[in-house]
């Protein structure tokens, strides 16, 4: 496994070509670009329906410079299972060569409608890397809440702010016995790239949860995408860690977190949260962030990598 240390290590192998119709400043395409630059060929990409799929595959155009398949919304992990097993079978018969399988899915197709297929694929132990670009809502259909939407966020289906916590997808997949589950942010490109390569080097189903700020749905100016991702990490809202066979390592410790308000005030989807009458929700949000961070610290202490 080749370590990535400089940007020039990644330059040259774009998997995505421009001319796709993603919004200006789309966090998802930044994340996906980085993933494909780091991924070691040969590989096949499977995507469910979502922002990425729609912006990249308007017939007769495609932004995919690598082989790519889209079937439906809820079954990317099932389709990927089929591709992976089929390539194994064909190789055994001398009818083809095995190639790696990478799923690139949004939070909708992973946390909600795609959850069953995800769980099934992980339980069966297929060799695949599952990348979830998390823009924290069903963005392509116009910003509706998903299980990945954080507490308090406004979406069209939670106009007064979501009341439920964000689903803890990484813990769920660690519980499935995945050999490698990690989080990443596009502003930490080196960490993201190395995690992609590390995940690919493992046997079995691996998962990379990437925060993908959405200027449109989170309501911030398009030039701030990387800043917002950075603040998500620096406020401990989106911790950067990896879990290898159930052993935890916090890759980016945040000893002095930035105030959460700094992150919230950049995004209009949290505007109401900063109003005095909603102080109790803000407090609940802060407590959720803190308890999760402490839980992570405890896990890293009890099961260190």
């Amino acid at each position: 496994m080749m370590q990535v240390s400089k940007l020039t290590d990644l330059y040259g192998r774009e998997g995505l070509s421009p001319g796709h119709t993603a919004c200006q400043g789309c966090g998802a395409t930044i994340a996906v670009r980085q993933v494909l630059l780091a991924a070691e060929p040969p590989y096949i990409v499977v995507s469910p329906t979502g922002c990425l799929e729609v912006v990249s595959s308007q017939y007769p155009y495609t932004s995919w410079r690598v082989p790519w398949v889209h079937v439906a919304f809820e079954n990317a992990a099932a389709v990927a299972s089929g591709v992976e097993a089929a390539l194994r079978a064909l190789e055994k018969k001398g009818l083809g060569k095995r190639q790696k399988v990478i799923v690139i899915a949004g939070d909708g197709g992973t946390f909600d409608i795609g959850f069953q297929a995800l769980s099934g694929a992980f339980e069966r132990g297929h060799n695949l890397l599952y990348i979830c670009y998390d823009n924290e809502a069903y963005m392509n259909t116009g910003i509706q809440r998903s299980a990945a939407t954080p507490l308090g966020a406004t979406t069209t289906t939670t106009p007064t702010g979501k009341l439920e916590m964000k689903k803890d997808i990484t813990s769920i997949l660690v519980a499935h016995g995945s050999p490698y589950v990690a989080t990443a942010s596009p502003h930490l490109w080196k960490d993201l790239a190395n995690k992609v390569r590390k995940a690919q080097s493992k046997e079995g189903p691996t998962f990379l949860h990437i925060v993908a700020p959405c200027p449109r749905g989170w309501y911030f100016d398009s030039h701030l995408t990387i800043k917002v991702a950075k603040l998500a990490v620096e406020t401990r809202i989106f911790p950067i860690y990896e879990v290898e066979h159930g052993r935890y390592r916090i890759n980016y410790p945040v000893p002095r977190p930035r105030p959460i308000e700094e992150y919230l005030k950049l995004q209009n989807r949290f505007a109401h949260l900063l109003k005095p009458e909603n102080a109790h929700i803000l407090e609940a949000f802060k407590q959720w962030v803190e308890s999760r961070w402490n839980h992570l610290l405890k896990m890293a202490e009890a099961f260190p990598l």
Partner: protein, 384 residues
């Protein structure tokens, strides 16, 4: 072998690469047999026990697009759950073969045989073949792979067998040699997922493009009927050749059209000399619908009886009868049609019931009168 045994045996010999399936009564035996064959090494394929039928067909689509020969099987609720992906499989031109063990759809829940499951998906663009007995299940599954993978077709194929009456009934089944089947099913090149020749499968089409894709699919499905004859002509067992219709007692003046296992019951009833005025048209291909062959077979008849093992509630006619009526209309053939709904939820017609129905049909045919009559065979409720 039972119908399920025969299905599994045919799939084993057909050198499939990939199987993903989920158990459901009465299909489960097919899945179990195939698991055994894979585990024992008799069948070199990857068997993926997916967590649902929807995932099973999704995995087949992925496998098929990766270049593998893929198979799955299901019934009833499972087929209904796969519904969305049925359209994708045909739209993406995946040559998947599926054995559908026909079973009634819930609600109310019923695990016994009728055709409502496959009829609920008849617009999905799949080739649909109906087998009458385990022997046909065996022959037709093998030919389905060649038909599906034919470069002029590249469409998924369903082989239907009645739940329990065909799937679980045992009869002697003649099988071909492994090598003979292997020779009959060569591999063809088709576009596939490959890093060294990258393509995009499953792009979305705006209104500017969608219409043409669908019409093309329809055209291809219609042409598949011709390819079927060619595929069957090469089949090493002449008796086993896939055909669109089969005629029995052609001199009979009253034509009865039926698909699936109950064909045998009707044939037996007609054989008894009292009913030599009936001719039996056993339909093996439902989609693409062989209008021409069917009209030719019945255009001289005094009356045409169509047996449907499913219903289209609220519709003027049930699925098979509707297709027959339309075919006759287009050909300008004017003949009285008697639509019979039978066997729903596994209520298999007995010989006695069939003979009673034939008497009733004779009465109706003799009377001249109504263009279209509707009967239920075996219904025990009030009214009709």
């Amino acid at each position: 072998m039972t119908g399920n045994d025969a299905a599994a045996y045919a799939v084993k010999q057909s050198d499939v690469d990939f199987i993903s399936a989920y158990p459901i009564t009465p299909q489960t035996i097919i899945v179990e047999r195939l698991s055994e064959y894979v585990a024992s090494g008799e069948l070199h394929a990857e068997f993926v026990a997916t967590e649902s039928e929807h995932s099973a067909l999704s995995a087949c689509v992925g496998a098929s697009l990766a270049g593998a020969r893929a198979f799955t099987s299901t019934s009833s609720q499972g087929l209904a759950l796969m519904h969305e992906i049925l359209y994708v499989a045909s739209g993406l031109r995946c040559p998947i073969v599926m054995a559908i063990v026909n079973r009634a759809l819930s609600a109310p829940l019923n695990i016994h045989g009728d055709h409502s499951d496959v009829m609920g998906s008849r617009d999905a663009g799949w080739i649909q073949i109906f087998a009458e007995n385990p022997q046909e299940v065996y022959h037709y599954l093998i030919q389905s792979f060649r038909l599906a993978e034919h470069p002029d077709v590249l469409l998924p194929v369903g082989v239907n067998l009645d739940g329990f009456t065909v799937s679980h009934s045992s009869e002697p089944v003649e099988v071909l040699e492994d090598s003979v089947v292997k020779e009959y099913l060569p591999r063809n090149e088709r576009p596939r997922l490959d890093y060294y020749s990258p393509a995009t499968f499953g792009a979305f089409a705006l209104p500017t493009h969608y219409f043409e894709f669908k019409v093309e699919q329809d055209k291809t499905l219609r042409k598949a009927g011709e390819v079927l004859d060619e595929v069957a002509a090469h089949y090493p067992s002449p008796e086993g050749r896939l055909r669109k219709i089969d005629k029995f007692n052609e001199d009979g003046r009253i034509a009865v059209i039926i698909m699936g296992g109950t064909t045998g019951t009707l044939r037996y009833a007609i054989k008894s000399l009292r009913f030599r005025d009936f001719s039996l048209i056993s339909l093996k291909l439902f989609s693409p619908f062989p209008s021409r062959e069917l009209v030719e077979a019945v255009s001289d008849a005094d009356a045409v009886v169509v047996m449907d093992r499913s219903m289209s509630p609220g519709a003027p006619l049930h699925p098979l009868a509707s297709n027959v009526a339309t075919s006759l209309y287009e050909a300008g053939v004017s003949v009285n049609l008697i639509s019979v709904v039978y066997g729903l939820g596994g209520r298999e017609p007995t010989i006695k019931m069939v003979l009673e129905m034939f008497e009733k049909v004779r009465e109706i045919a003799r009377g001249g009168g109504k263009r279209l009559s509707r009967l239920f065979l075996g219904y025990q409720g009030d009214g009709l």
